[in-house]
């Protein structure tokens, strides 16, 4: 099948999927067709030749609307491409649309969206959330037909470019039953990623299998002169995983049935493990929310309706105008995090919250560093619950929602590479296993992930 044909098929599928699960903010059929034609003419065959790619809507795409899920950017069209987009295009990937997300990544269920931005539905049960904040990517990855087991390509593989700050890849991957990969901080350039919390944001990938997630990841890895925090990495061969650790603190509050599924999968893999305690994790969620909101509140201060994004007729002083735009277009969750983040960095409270949180992060990083001298990988459930129903979510308090990040925050805060791999079902809904490896050791992570995948055999 030619790239033009397979792209047409994918567009057809895209329409069906989006109608059912509303996982795209913007679909880019014309752009995809144009790219398919260019690829047909060009002789070059890149690593992603003809593969359909969906992109989380906080990654800037030149000439294509990029909202970051927020009403304040609902009309924003970037003038440049994020570095990851440039790399995908160079390797022949075809971008088919921008996936929906919680505004600026502020959420676990993809229900915190700006006006006009769709809430994605879980392909396993449309009355349930597909997770967040990369909910659109999770739903699309689950919904697109798979060919990874078919030798002859019937339709191009779909892969999704997503992003995690505190668990935004693992959560939707687990809820939607797909593989989510979050890299070590610095492995992927953040240039062109609309910031939530710069010291924690990581662009990652989703696919139906570990190999698929890895395929896209390999394309976007690498140092970028436009992002100082991106790293040059000396590739090391994958280690054979001999011993893993299970951290007790990451099992607390996890649903009983999920725990059962988790232990069953550990048994299936047959890998020797030790149960250990990491007491510093008690403060992980608090530390994460302080650092993340402190940075987020400074990042969001640029949205004043002056140069881009939502605008209104000017009136009053600039302060009046900025306030009116921000009051009108920021959602409740955006306002909550701005207020929280501003508070923790205010003189008089800064020592108590922001600076202390930075110290806790250092301590946790140090503790993980010690652990990886003894263990090759860490395992935990991906999420403490299965995908909740939308009407259940509305009953939860923000603090209860934040607590659901207890499994995903530790590796995200410590900037460690991790995978969420589907391992089974509870109440007909997918359950994920989270695999964490040492910093910059993605090779071991991918190989170990594939090993688990083959032993557990999720269907």
């Amino acid at each position: 099948m030619s790239v033009t044909e397979s792209t047409e098929k994918a567009i057809e599928e895209l329409h069906k999927i989006n109608k059912k699960y509303t996982c795209f903010v913007t679909t880019t059929e014309d752009y995809a067709r144009k790219r398919a034609n260019e690829l047909t003419i060009s002789k070059k065959k890149g690593a992603l030749h003809g593969i359909i790619i969906s992109v989380k809507d906080n990654i800037c795409t030149k000439g294509i609307k990029t909202t970051a899920g927020s009403a304040i950017l609902s009309n924003y069209v970037p003038t440049y491409n994020a570095t990851v987009i440039e790399r995908i295009e160079q390797e022949g990937g075809i971008i088919i649309g921008k996936t929906t997300m919680d505004d600026f990544g502020f959420g676990t269920f993809n229900v915190n969206v700006g006006e006009g931005i769709p809430i994605p539905k879980n392909p396993h049960d449309i009355s349930r959330s597909s997770g967040g904040s990369s909910g659109g990517s999770g739903a699309a990855t689950a919904a697109f037909s798979s060919n990874s087991t078919v030798a002859e390509r019937l339709a191009p593989t779909h892969l999704s470019l997503s992003e995690s700050t505190g668990g935004s890849i693992t959560s939707p991957a687990a809820f939607c039953g797909v593989v989510g990969f979050t890299p070590s901080y610095g492995r992927v350039s953040r240039y062109g990623l609309i910031d939530y919390a710069n010291s924690l944001d990581k662009i990652g990938t989703m696919g139906k299998t570990v190999s698929e997630a890895e395929q896209l990841a390999r394309v976007i890895f690498g140092k970028d002169a436009k992002d100082e925090t991106s790293l040059v990495v000396q590739e090391k061969p994958a280690k054979k995983v001999k011993k893993v650790a299970i951290i007790k603190e990451m099992l607390q509050g996890v649903d009983e049935k999920i725990l059962t599924a988790f232990w069953k999968s550990i048994e299936l893999t047959g890998i020797p493990y030790e149960e250990i305690s990491l007491p510093s994790l008690e403060y992980a969620v608090a530390s994460y929310y302080i650092i993340a909101t402190a940075e987020a509140s400074s990042n969001l201060s640029r949205y004043t309706g002056l140069r881009y994004g939502a605008q209104e007729e000017f009136s009053g002083s600039f302060n009046d105008y900025f306030s009116s735009i921000r009051s009108k277009y920021f959602s409740a969750e955006e306002k909550r995090r701005i207020i929280l983040g501003t508070f923790v960095r205010t003189a008089g409270y800064k020592d108590k919250y922001y600076l202390k949180a930075l110290k806790i992060r250092e301590k946790i990083n140090h503790d993980f560093h010690i652990l990886f001298k003894k263990y090759d990988a860490l395992l935990s459930p991906s999420m403490p619950i299965i995908a909740p129903k939308f009407d259940e979510i509305s009953k939860l308090k923000p603090i209860e929602i934040y607590a659901l990040d207890s499994c995903t925050i530790p590796p995200n805060l410590a900037l460690l590479p991790h995978l969420s791999i589907p391992i089974g079902k509870v109440n007909s809904m997918p359950v994920g296993l989270q695999v964490i490896c040492d910093s910059l050791d993605e090779n071991t992570l991918f190989e170990f992930g594939k090993q688990i995948e083959s032993l557990v055999k999720y269907k």
Partner: protein, 490 residues
């Protein structure tokens, strides 16, 4: 009047625009003569998703500055975000070094009497009155810190000033231009000392090409001033040493007046108004904003080593004293002339480029530190705005060959500065004198001499030439006049 019992304390914070081709965190040009908002990109406009990357050239210039301030270098300095809302600040935060500045604890020596600094050194000039040999009393000003930060954009108040303008225009060309803020301890005990410090700093920084004195607003100073141990008042954003002097004088008399009346001087931020000649209240202490500083997560710490520091210092230009010694040993000029030639930024290089085409190095030096420098200082011109060296070579050749007299030379130099576009030929043209009509007048008035010549007395013609020259204001070539006279009289 200011009583003798007033104890004055001043500390200064100078925002110094480092001379680099591109901005601090993007590749936009720093050229200030561009059209509004021409020098902007996604990064300096703070578009969502963009990230800053550090321009290493800024670090080099900051290290040069740290050297002349005798600061301790911080080998691991960091950036922070200073968060506040203002239309000239696209990200609504300024990237600055708050916790860990690049340099700390410096010392800068000044001559305590401002009069000892050459008169011409008025924020761009050089010396005319040479008094460096006079006995000087040195005073050390302690430097608290020097840190790197980005400049915000520029606001134009249309049809008025901050209080009266109906609307403002924002130009982001300046946004992201590299600044180094130098903070002093409150060491100044007189206005003269503060002004002397700013003048000396400006001169040295421009001399060493750390700043470009031709750029507008290249050094802006905030002054903290208090009297008799009272609360300090911060005067914001003062450009240049003249304005600083006026602002400090006006604020000192305001505080002295309050003090004399037994009133309390409150801690506040004020600005100096050129219009009213007074300082105006901007905000009181309680209205001060909390900037909620956090670390800048997109930038790595500036990690430098000794090799980097030494390399930056190796690229530094020579100091005026070093240039002076070089001039004395190389050209055998007097100490006084060498001092003046060395002091004015760029003058020595200008001297050297002229000398390639001239014979008399003494004569050139004499003219340069004389009338040339006088004109440059009168116009407040940096060397780049002075007549080109090609023009000056042409001028000196006219002097060397005696084509023009010294007196004519002095006039011509003035014209070269006043009318920079005109060629030397046009400027030197004897304008306003019609030689033929002057000659016919002189002939009419001196019939006796005419008769003598006609009678065969050759000496009489010299008298007539002298008369013509006098009448023409000495603007004429004696040989040419002789020829004309001979033609008419024979």
């Amino acid at each position: 009047m200011i009583g003798t019992n007033i104890h004055l304390m001043i500390g200064l914070e100078s925002h110094i625009q480092l001379a680099t081709k591109s901005k601090l965190f993007c590749s936009c040009s720093t050229n200030s003569s561009a059209e509004p908002n021409e020098n902007t990109c996604e990064i300096c406009l703070g578009y969502p998703g963009t990230k800053p990357t550090l321009n290493k050239e800024v670090v080099r210039k900051a290290l040069m500055l740290a050297k002349i301030m005798n600061c301790k270098i911080n080998y691991n300095s960091k950036f922070n975000r200073k968060i506040y809302f203002y239309p000239d600040l696209p990200k609504s935060f300024q990237i600055t070094q708050y916790e860990e500045p690049i340099a700390v604890k410096g010392e800068f020596s000044i001559d305590v009497s401002a009069s000892r600094l050459p008169n011409g050194a008025n924020l761009s000039g050089a010396a005319l009155d040479h008094s460096a040999t006079a006995a000087t009393e040195k005073k050390t000003i302690h430097i608290t810190r020097a840190h790197i930060e980005e400049d915000p954009g520029k606001i134009e108040y249309v049809g008025g000033h901050i209080g009266t303008a109906k609307y403002v225009l924002v130009d982001y060309n300046r946004c992201g231009v590299p600044l180094c803020e130098v903070v002093t301890d409150p060491d100044f005990r007189s206005i003269d000392e503060a002004v002397t410090y700013v003048k000396k700093l400006f001169h040295l920084l421009s001399y060493l090409d750390i700043i470009d004195p031709n750029q507008e607003g290249v050094m802006r100073t905030d002054a903290n001033i208090s009297i008799n141990g009272g609360k300090r008042v911060e005067l914001k954003n003062i450009s240049g040493s003249d304005a600083l002097e006026k602002a400090l004088k006006s604020e000192l008399s305001r505080q002295s007046f309050l003090f004399a009346q037994g009133k309390v001087i409150e801690q506040e931020t004020r600005m100096y108004s050129e219009e009213t000649g007074t300082t105006i209240l901007l905000r009181k202490k309680e209205q001060e904003e909390d900037y909620g500083y956090i670390r800048e997560p997109d930038l790595l710490p500036i990690t430098i080593d000794d090799a980097f520091v030494q390399d930056a210092w190796k690229q530094m230009k020579k100091l005026p004293e070093e240039v002076e010694s070089e001039i004395i040993s190389k050209y055998k000029l007097s100490k006084q002339i060498a001092y003046q030639l060395a002091f004015k930024r760029g003058l020595y290089a200008y001297y050297q480029s002229c000398l390639k085409y001239l014979k008399n190095s003494d004569l050139l030096a004499k003219w340069l530190v004389g009338d040339f420098l006088k004109c440059a200082n009168w116009h407040n011109y940096e060397i780049e705005k002075c007549p080109s060296s090609e023009k000056l070579i042409e001028f000196m050749q006219m002097i060397e060959t005696g084509k023009i007299s010294e007196r004519e030379g002095k006039e011509l130099i003035k014209k070269m500065f006043d009318d920079p576009k005109k060629g030397l030929g046009d400027l030197a043209e004897k304008k306003g004198v019609d030689l033929d009509s002057v000659i016919s007048e002189v002939l009419k008035e001196n019939q006796k001499s005419v008769d003598q010549i006609k009678a065969g007395d050759p000496k009489a013609i010299n008298f007539l030439i002298g008369q013509v020259l006098r009448k023409a204001g000495f603007k004429g070539d004696p040989n040419e006049i002789r020829k004309k006279l001979e033609k008419l009289l024979t």
